[in-house]
């Protein structure tokens, strides 16, 4: 055993400092630094920190705009194709090109496969491990005992008799469901490769459409795999319902873990080629026709589902991050194409000026900036809840989506899955939950996997109809203008994604991508408002049975991982216990806090 090196926070608060850096089982490097109150069993303070800077917005300046999707795909290694897609959307707007319908259906099929793959591997092979038998045994042995005695309500659907059987199946490598999920993550990526060439950085995606050869075979190969996935989801939705419902029962109060105010953002995904012409002028209308409806949801109410309004409200604050402010620098866009004023702190006008410096939790402590959404009064620290909870919530409230396979009702989303190899037609209904917390973020992820599969059935029908009608063109010519403006909106797997581009002299003059993780992992902003991870972890109750010396921080990890973190960044925390803990003879980065 490694000797614990817990230490009291140097601020006389009786809290204990703890940090997790790097956090495993996420994509990228995230550190969480905390102060924990072991007496009250609560997290008192949390700081989220990212330890990587790469500088895309810096090195993209002056490059050919057509290179943008190839370059920005490399921002993320698990959802790079979401970036490539978003960049292609922004380029389509700037070049004034509308791809053939078939090209759009193929992109939608690729992106649906990405959701199916990525949510699956994250849910079962990364997050799932936090709920596996081995982890529960090491953190809450009492809960495991109860799980052994608790029959799984949906055993008939998923085949596991008790909750503990579900937990065992999630044990890394040994667990059969864990291994099955790894296999599922592979054939869903094959589906992706059928449509976009390669995972995770697509090869066949271009502004103007795709280079994919749309044959009958392409759709047969895709659909055969898709139906296997549909069958798989008929087991997985009830399995996760059983598992997550059990935690509410076994640990009363677990709804508080990772809970924060409902402040959700969704930028919409999966365009409908019947309506989407990629013009800024019509963006409000075609945005509302997306197969995942954009929306901002505050305290359970829909604030807007208008992409133009969403666009104009985005603000980038620097807060506690390592950058120089760009105030007084050139403003690229003063008005949008509709004549609305564009704020100097909007991504179209941002200048990224790195200022590397020591990490200091009293001041600057991360490479992640603080994106906020300005509602005219407040700078809202929106989160994405890891993507699905915001997408389902926004889609449900707007009530605009209805493909037969998926229907939004105004208060829920109904997902209808057809008959498969061994299972009959099945419907699931995702209902708006009472809380935005760790368990509901995770539950929504499972439902959204079913949603993506159901949508893919619709897209495949549409695409195949084009092929059968002989309309096999998938790409449309375009020209790059000397001066231009573009914005792309979509949903990366873990939430909102926007790419803002300004073209001058035929080159990229400004390019600022905003993926979900800067929203979720953002630091305390200029006004002192903490970012969503920080906010959700602060005041998370501690249910783990271990003493501070053997403490793993599982409840904190569950809170953080529920957001599906994806970035080079870190999370550090403080645990509190009142009595003196071993004091380290050297200061850590946090010890300067409050003193």
């Amino acid at each position: 055993m490694v000797a614990p090196t817990t230490k009291a926070a140097g601020d006389g608060s009786g809290l204990t400092e703890m940090s997790w850096d790097p956090i495993t089982r996420i994509v990228g490097s995230l550190g969480i630094h905390t102060k924990i109150d072991f007496k009250q069993k609560r997290v008192a303070e949390c700081y989220s920190t990212s330890s990587v800077f790469r500088g895309y917005s810096v090195f993209m300046r002056g490059k050919d705009p057509r290179d943008a999707h190839f370059i920005t795909s490399r921002i993320c290694g698990i959802c790079g194709d979401n970036h490539a897609t978003c960049s292609v959307y922004a380029q389509n707007m700037a070049y004034g090109v509308k791809p053939p319908h078939l090209g759009e259906w193929i992109i939608n099929l690729g992106e649906s496969a990405e959701y199916m793959f990525d949510h699956n591997i994250f849910q079962e092979n990364l997050v799932g491990v936090d709920y596996c038998e081995r982890m529960v045994k090491e953190t809450n042995p009492g809960v495991l005992e109860l799980a052994e005695r608790t029959a799984a309500p949906h055993a008939g659907e998923h085949g596991y008799r008790t909750i503990a059987d579900i937990m065992r199946s999630l044990n890394p490598i040994e667990g059969e469901f864990y291994r099955e999920a790894l296999q599922v993550s592979r054939y869903t990526r094959e589906m992706f490769c059928l449509m976009e060439g390669r995972h995770v950085h697509p090869s066949t995606l271009y502004p103007g459409g795709v280079g994919t050869i749309a044959s009958v075979q392409l759709f047969t190969d895709y659909l055969s795999r898709l139906m296997r996935y549909v069958e798989f989801m008929k087991r997985v939705v009830p399995l996760h319902d059983d598992l997550f419902d059990f935690f509410y029962e076994a640990l009363p109060g677990y709804e508080e873990v990772g809970r924060r105010r409902v402040l959700l953002g969704c930028w919409g995904a999966l365009n409908d080629p019947e309506y989407c012409d990629f013009t800024y002028r019509n963006m409000t209308d075609w945005g509302r026709r997306m197969f995942v409806t954009p929306g901002i949801v505050v305290d359970g109410k829909l604030v807007t589902n208008d992409l133009t309004e969403i666009n104009l409200g985005i603000r980038i604050l620097l807060g506690s991050s390592y950058y120089q402010d760009w105030e007084g620098k050139e403003q690229f866009v003063t008005h949008d194409p509709l004549g609305n004023p564009v704020d100097p702190r909007h991504p179209w006008n941002q200048h990224t000026i790195p200022a590397p410096q020591k990490r200091n939790f009293d001041d600057k402590y991360s490479w992640v900036m603080s994106p906020r959404w300005f509602d005219g009064k407040d700078y809202l620290a929106l989160d994405t809840g890891g993507g699905p909870i915001a997408r389902l919530w926004s889609t449900a409230l707007s009530g605009l989506v209805d493909t037969g396979y998926v229907r939004a009702t105004g208060h829920s989303v109904v997902i209808n899955l057809p008959k498969t190899m061994t299972k009959p037609e099945t419907s699931f209904e995702w209902k708006i939950p009472k809380w935005s917390n760790a368990l509901e973020r995770n539950r929504a992820r499972t439902y959204f996997q079913a949603y993506a599969a159901a949508m893919a059935l619709h897209f495949a029908e549409k695409g195949l109809a084009e092929v059968r009608a002989g309309r096999t063109q998938t790409w449309e010519k375009f020209e790059v203008p000397e001066e231009g403006l573009g914005v792309g909106f979509t949903e990366a797997v873990r939430g909102v994604l926007s790419h803002h581009m300004v073209i001058r002299d035929g080159k990229i003059a400004n390019y600022h991508p905003y993926p979900p993780t800067p929203w979720n992992a953002s630091t305390r902003d200029t006004f002192g408002t903490p970012g969503p991870y920080e906010d959700a972890v602060q005041n998370t109750p501690i249910f783990e049975e271990n003493t501070p010396e053997n403490f793993k921080g599982i409840d904190i990890m569950r809170a953080v991982r529920s957001f599906d973190p994806c970035l080079p960044c870190g999370v550090h925390m403080y645990l509190g216990d009142g009595k003196s803990v071993q004091k380290m003879h050297v200061p850590t980065g946090l010890s300067g806090m409050g003193g």
């Binding site: 490694v2 614990p4 090196t5 703890m18 940090s19 997790w20 850096d21 790097p22 495993t24 089982r25 994509v27 490097s29 550190g31 330890s51 990587v52 800077f53 790469r54 500088g55 810096v58 490059k63 050919d64 290179d67 490399r74 921002i75 993320c76 290694g77 698990i78 591997i121 491990v129 982890m135 490598i173 040994e174 592979r186 094959e190 490769c193 060439g197 390669r198 995972h199 995770v200 950085h201 697509p202 090869s203 103007g208 795709v210 280079g211 994919t212 050869i213 190969d221 590397p356 410096q357 020591k358 990490r359 790409w475 010519k477 271990n546 403490f551 793993k552 921080g553 080079p568 050297v586």
Partner: protein, 362 residues
């Protein structure tokens, strides 16, 4: 992936009888270069063999291994408490786990071009409370490693983050350690390029090295850019099923054409990569074979020497016009281009001056 099974039984308190059996080969994986983690993610798609097959030593002759891989590691405890993931890296530095293979993912930023702070870090230094930079980890661990493996084009040659005008001075592991660097076991840096890696290309290289570690395989054969020769010996064009169209002089004029893409920006004729032949995963997907121009993502000259990607490569006109002419002329012309693009741009190197063209504001 750590310690879930007999193959990776490395619980720190199991140092008793278990340790006397067969001690595992550790794999220390640093994903905190300037990367997107795409190589880690890509490896989970491998099927020949898969990660679970490697972890459970399923292939004949594979030794017991213990993988310390951030992407899917079970361990997630706090730095100050139980099951701390980063502790394995300190053990590696202290010589407490031997042998280990060091895998580096992401390009190495130049930390000496600025007065303070860090471009990228991995865990914290208990002495200062500041992040330990990736280059510092390489300094600490490379001398103790059985082998150093660079996974993906960022770690091998710098890649996207080492593009002209970059602020971080990013470079590949061989630029950082030196191209002639050898491990204490005499193994040069092993480079598996690709943005990201083709999944099986990496799992196969890892298997080769594990076999070499047990004495079953001879020294891994590498070319002058430190790539496994059997994976990177042929060009994209040589393995592309659209090469027949090239031969017939039939070139695509739109990206959705099934013909040869060389006039629309495909660099296949001079790029060393087996993807069109092997497919992207499980034989499915790829690049020019399925309608995606080859942007040369495996090459040392990537991306700068191939941009703008969607323009016809210079020299493409000559060789495609003469595509009816076989033999030495074409090969000669191509080898000149190939030599140029098989070298990194000149600004990817260590030192205190940033040479990428970016003017530092600090």
């Amino acid at each position: 992936m750590n310690a879930p099974s007999p193959a990776t039984a490395t619980a720190p308190d199991a140092a008793g009888p278990a340790a006397e059996e067969e001690s595992p080969i550790h794999i220390l994986w640093i994903n905190a270069g300037l990367s997107c983690d795409g190589d880690s993610v890509s490896l989970t798609a491998a099927t020949q063999p898969s990660i679970e097959e490697i972890a459970l030593s399923v292939l004949p002759g594979l030794p017991k291994i213990a993988v310390h891989w951030p992407l899917i590691d079970f361990e997630c405890g706090p730095v100050q408490g139980a099951d701390n993931f980063i502790e394995w890296f300190f053990k590696g530095e202290r010589g407490e786990i031997d042998p280990f293979v060091l895998v580096v993912e992401g390009s190495i930023p130049n930390e000496s071009i600025k007065p303070e702070g860090y471009w990228c870090g991995f865990g914290d230094d208990p002495l200062t409370g500041q992040p330990i930079t990736t280059s510092e980890w390489i300094d600490r661990l490379a001398p103790k490693a059985l082998a150093v493996v660079a996974i993906g084009t960022c770690a091998t040659y710098g890649g996207i983050h080492a593009m002209e005008g970059n602020p971080t001075g990013a470079m590949g592991v061989p630029d950082y350690l030196g191209w002639d660097w050898k491990s204490k076991a005499g193994i040069p840096i092993v480079c598996v390029p690709g943005c990201p890696i083709q999944p099986d290309n990496f799992s196969e290289t890892l298997v080769y090295l594990l076999h070499q570690a047990t004495g079953a395989a001879p020294m891994i054969p590498l070319d002058d850019q430190l790539r496994p020769t059997w994976l990177f010996g042929a060009t994209v064009h040589e393995g592309c099923d659209r090469a027949g169209y090239y031969e017939q002089g039939q070139f695509a004029t739109t990206y959705d054409s099934p013909k040869c893409l060389v006039k629309l920006g495909c660099w296949g004729p001079v790029v060393k990569c087996n993807v069109p032949k092997r497919g992207w995963m499980n034989g499915i997907g790829g690049c020019p074979n399925v309608g995606g121009i080859c942007i040369a993502c495996t090459m040392p000259g990537f991306p700068d020497k191939f941009m703008p990607f969607m323009d016809e490569p210079p020299g493409g006109k000559v060789s495609s016009a003469a595509s009816g002419v076989y033999g030495s002329v074409i090969r000669k012309l191509r080898s000149i281009t190939m030599h140029t693009v098989d070298q990194e741009p000149k600004w990817r190197h260590p030192g205190e001056k940033l040479a990428t063209g970016y003017r530092p504001p600090w």
